[in-house]
């Protein structure tokens, strides 16, 4: 890692960018947007977020609050956990722990910084990662391994049995930084009693582990608040998702990113619910006017990403979709499977979770069920065409949202989806949905630049006559 990079703390830098960006909207519109002339490096990403109005501002303020919480956790007597993104953070609140959600923090870095996180990605390799490891962890983790961020107190991983390269990164971090480590493990099945019991045991093991680390007990009143709030925000999220079924979709494409960001960072907290409410308001307003969620109000195509979105280009993919009047209908990262979900119909209901506030046991079971259905944890734990797995969920999303085409982008670390995407794409094509597999890396623009990827998508849309 270059010397200059060692001068500043990564999380502090990201926080100050977000902080000032979130303030920019507090003045007049002219003042806010006028300022971007002086921030050419961050302009694209921040403008794309702020163009959405209130939801974007709330999102930036939420991220700012979150990063401050991490930065001040130790001062405030709280422990910090290094977590996977698909680790519903609600449970940590009643345990008085602040999570560093690693992949979302990487996303902030790659989305905000013009030149991406190459130095940190490389740093992981310098200390021993394989170059083929997933970039989603390596990005921010490079900074944490180099001591350029808040030092976590322990590591919590919810990807074991789901994604080896992810689990390897967390396991490595625990060994390298000499931190205690707890893993949640997903068996290959989901809805049978055996799997349910496994998850619930596993989840209680997590609670005991964290209690041991913090010396504090789970606060049941706070737990109840989280349960109630989770249900409420899920309901709103699902209402937005329900609106996405309309043609044109009145939901701005980037709202999907906002939804899962809010869930990953503040699932179960009021602040995430507020963003959902704001997004619902905008979407309903569009729907009432028969407008699409795009800036022009028109919809010429509908896109669904079967895996992740592409983050490493300052959010330009969303801006580009918008410019092309393509409604972006989300990706696997939106697949949380609460009981209210519009895609959870018929037998698929079995794969959902409910929030039951009756007593401590029901609440813990609810969270265990939720945790075992987080994006990726649910879909890629077993053979891709087993019930409740990647294919079922993709088909459910396609039937619900009726995209006119599908995209796959991943990371070069993703053995799991790269291991079956060619087959999955064959299936979606058979359903009549043109599907494009893009070779690139969602968090590392050095693999393929967004410009090249964009050209490929553009060509695909033309050749397959999706955009006339």
């Amino acid at each position: 890692m270059r010397k200059e990079y060692r001068e500043y703390h990564f999380d502090r830098m990201v926080q100050s960018i977000i902080h000032f960006a979130s303030l920019s909207y507090d003045g007049t519109h002219k003042e806010g947007f006028g300022m971007f002339r002086y921030a050419p490096r961050f302009r694209d990403a921040i403008q794309t977020i702020l163009m959405t109005g209130e939801p974007g501002v709330l999102l930036l303020k939420m991220i700012d609050t979150y990063l401050i919480e991490i930065l001040t956790a130790h001062e405030n007597g709280k422990k910090v956990a290094l977590c996977t993104f698909n680790f519903s953070p609600g449970v940590l609140k009643p345990l008085d722990v602040v999570p560093i959600c690693l992949e979302p923090v990487t996303t902030l870095g790659v989305a905000m910084w013009l030149r991406g996180l190459g130095e940190y990605l490389n740093y992981c390799c310098e200390v021993g990662f394989t170059e083929t490891s997933c970039s989603a962890q390596r990005g921010a983790l490079g900074a944490y391994l180099a001591g350029l961020g808040v030092r976590p107190d322990f590591v919590l991983c919810n990807s074991i049995g789901v994604c080896d390269t992810n689990a390897t990164a967390f396991n490595f971090a625990a060994e390298y930084l000499e931190l205690p480590f707890y893993q949640l493990n997903a068996p290959p099945t989901l809805v049978d009693e055996r799997a349910r019991t496994y998850h619930r045991h596993d989840f209680r093991g997590l609670i005991s582990f964290v209690e041991e680390q913090t010396g504090k007990n789970l606060d049941c009143d706070l737990l109840r608040e989280v349960i109630v709030e989770t249900d409420k925000q899920d309901e709103i999220m699902c209402e937005i998702e329900d609106l996405m079924r309309l043609t044109p979709s009145p939901v701005p494409g980037i709202f999907n990113l906002f939804m899962y960001s809010a869930k990953y960072i503040y699932g179960g907290s009021r602040v995430a619910t507020e963003i959902m409410e704001s997004m619902l308001k905008v979407s309903k307003h569009n729907a009432a006017q028969g407008r699409a969620g795009t800036t022009s109000g028109k919809e010429e195509a509908r896109a669904f990403s079967v895996y992740v979105d592409h983050y490493s280009a300052q959010l330009r993919p969303w801006a580009w979709f918008d410019e092309k009047n393509i409604s972006h209908l989300g990706c696997m990262m939106n697949g949380f499977w609460p009981v209210h979900a519009p895609y959870a119909t018929g037998d698929l209901k079995e794969g959902t979770y409910t929030m039951d506030p009756t007593n401590e046991e029901t609440m813990l079971d609810s969270l265990a069920d939720q945790m075992s259905r987080m994006p990726m944890v649910k879909q890629i734990r077993g053979p891709y065409d087993d019930p409740h797995q990647w294919l079922t969920d993709t088909v459910a999303s396609i039937k619900t949202y009726k995209p006119t085409f599908c995209l796959y982008t991943g990371t070069i670390g993703c053995r799991n989806t790269w291991g079956s995407i060619k087959i999955l794409a064959r299936d979606t094509e058979k359903m009549g949905i043109p599907t494009l597999i893009l070779f690139g890396d969602a968090f590392d623009h050095r693999i393929t630049s967004w410009e090249s990827m964009r050209d490929r998508i553009d060509e695909f849309l033309t050749v397959r006559r999706i955009l006339e």
């Binding site: 890692m1 270059r2 010397k3 030149r115 190459g118 490389n122 740093y123 390799c125 310098e126 200390v127 021993g128 170059e131 070069i412 070779f439 890396d441 590392d444 623009h445 050095r446 693999i447 393929t448 630049s449 410009e451 090249s452 050209d455």
Partner: protein, 282 residues
């Protein structure tokens, strides 16, 4: 006493003749398909330049990818060892050697006595090797030298997706089509290369006293960026071509071998046969 070192690489072959501490000649040629032919040709050139014949050579050590199948070699030694010996001979006290050859890039770390502590090489991919630059230079329609020189004129190096040579090529073409200044693209190529090499070197823990060898050392653009990435001034091998450091190291070891064998009296016949077995005239 004249000895030779011959480094048969995947892209170029190098031969160097040494008489005590004096370099008599040094030849560099493009490798051909059979390593033994490459070795013979490059040795012939080195001999011709020094006006010597095979019989004048006491001992030959080969190194490089093709080293194992060279009939005239007395012994073969890995290029890691040879590069470190060559670099040490030229630059005593050196602690880190970065060598970027045609198809691999290596970093070697030495202790204060010049012994190898650790080394590493790039993965099997061509990104981060001389091959990468060659491919990029071809796409840009530049010579390798110009690629290095041009980048110093760049005011705004572009970003290049360069984790993979194949994909990087597409990127370069993309930038060309968009009419980006060629010096900015050249700079991007060199910078991308430097970043990958820096990662390899950093994985060993960088040392202050470091040098760069191999063909890519001639690309001033890469070297400048690499120095910036590593935060260290990189020495360039004095007196010999940076591509010939491995061959030099092989010759230095050959020299030592012969000297050692002379210190211990041996039956004359055995000594003789080694010398005779050295090089056959073609």
């Amino acid at each position: 006493m004249i000895v030779a070192g011959c480094d048969v690489g995947s892209l170029t072959s190098k031969a160097l003749l040494l008489n005590d501490r004096k370099v008599l000649s040094c030849a560099i040629q493009r490798s051909v398909s059979r390593p033994e032919d490459s070795a013979r040709r490059v040795m012939d050139q080195a001999l011709a330049e020094a006006s010597l014949s095979c019989d004048d050579i006491s001992y030959v050590i080969t190194t490089g990818y093709g080293r194992a199948c060279i009939p005239f070699a007395n012994d073969e030694i890995s290029e890691i060892t040879c590069h470190s010996r060559g670099a040490l001979w030229l630059m005593p006290g050196i602690r880190m050697i970065i060598d970027i050859g045609g198809q691999d890039c290596k970093a070697i770390k030495l202790d204060q006595n010049g012994r190898i502590i650790k080394f590493t090489t790039n993965d099997k991919c061509a990104a981060g090797t001389g091959r990468f630059l060659e491919v990029m230079a071809t796409v840009l329609g530049l010579s390798l030298e110009d690629l290095g020189e041009l980048s110093s004129h760049s005011r705004n190096p572009l970003d290049l997706a360069a984790a993979c040579t194949v994909w990087a090529q597409t990127e370069v073409i993309h930038h060309l089509n968009n009419g980006r200044p060629i010096e900015d693209i050249a700079a991007a190529v060199n910078l991308a290369m430097a970043k990958r090499v820096a990662m390899i070197a950093n994985s060993l823990g960088m040392e202050k006293s470091a040098c760069i060898s191999g063909g890519v050392a001639k690309n001033s653009g890469v070297v400048a960026y690499l120095e910036k990435q590593l935060g260290v001034k990189l020495k360039k091998p004095p007196r010999v071509d940076p591509q010939a450091v491995g061959a030099l190291g092989a010759a230095v070891i050959a020299h030592e071998r012969v000297q050692k064998s002379r210190e211990i009296p041996r039956p004359a016949a055995a000594e003789e046969s080694t010398v005779q077995g050295g090089i056959e005239s073609s």
